[in-house]
């Protein structure tokens, strides 16, 4: 298993600004992912964070809006750019060596 930490845990941001969320894993892992989850809803995969290369984005998500970095096997960041109220959500990172994933506690973002 892996222990995942995320920060910030929550933030309230003004529209038009950007927020960078950090995800730290306590061990080296092959796979890291970023998800978005609306309250009471399922998890929507934003992208796979690839170490040393550009992230792989799912349909509906683009690099200009959600730039992702993964400089090493234990750390990744997700930036939510030019935010609008529609970006208000919980953002989760996950990590794992195989198909089982371990999730961070999430970042609750509110855009006003």
């Amino acid at each position: 298993s892996a222990v995942i930490s995320q920060k910030p845990s929550r933030d309230i941001c003004q529209r038009g600004t950007s927020l960078t969320i950090q995800c730290q894993v306590d061990s080296q892992v092959t796979m890291m992912f970023w998800y978005r989850q609306q309250p009471g809803q399922s998890l929507t995969l934003i992208a796979t964070a690839n170490q040393g290369s550009e992230a792989t984005y799912e349909s509906g998500f683009v690099i200009d809006k959600f730039p992702i970095s993964r400089p090493n096997l234990t750390f990744s960041t997700l930036t939510v750019s030019n935010m609008s109220p529609e970006d208000s959500s919980i953002y989760l990172c996950s990590a794992g060596e195989t198909y089982e994933q371990y999730f961070g506690p999430g970042t609750r973002l509110t855009v006003t």
Partner: protein
């Protein structure tokens, strides 16, 4: 990615009753994972099933993978209030050699004491 349909969306039970959630796919799954998310919490990995017809147990929880590997179920015997939460199944597909996870919509379990 792989599409998985999960039912029911909600389930209310009296404490002590059993509970089952189902995950179905139109295509064969290579494996399936189950997660539990407590209210206000994050998803926590419970188990992975890989083999056709596989059955695994964790105390009062029984996980099953169908013979055709197109469906899976999670059964909880004699529910307790600590079982409250949303249970998600997740399946994987591969694209260009990369693993892409897809989560079902989840089943929210409400246990009435």
């Amino acid at each position: 990615g792989q599409q998985v349909m999960q039912i029911p969306q909600y389930q209310h039970v009296q404490e002590g009753e059993d509970f089952t959630t189902y995950c179905n796919s139109s295509t064969t799954l290579s494996n399936i994972q189950w997660y539990k998310q407590r209210p206000g919490g994050h998803p926590v990995f419970l188990i992975q099933l890989v083999k056709s017809g596989e059955v695994k147990k964790q105390k009062r929880l029984t996980f099953q993978f169908g013979e055709a590997k197109k469906n899976s179920s999670l059964h909880i015997t004699a529910t307790q209030t600590t079982d409250v939460g949303t249970y998600f199944c997740a399946a994987s597909s591969t694209s260009g050699g990369s693993y892409i996870p897809t989560f079902g919509r989840g089943t929210s379990l409400i246990v009435h004491p």
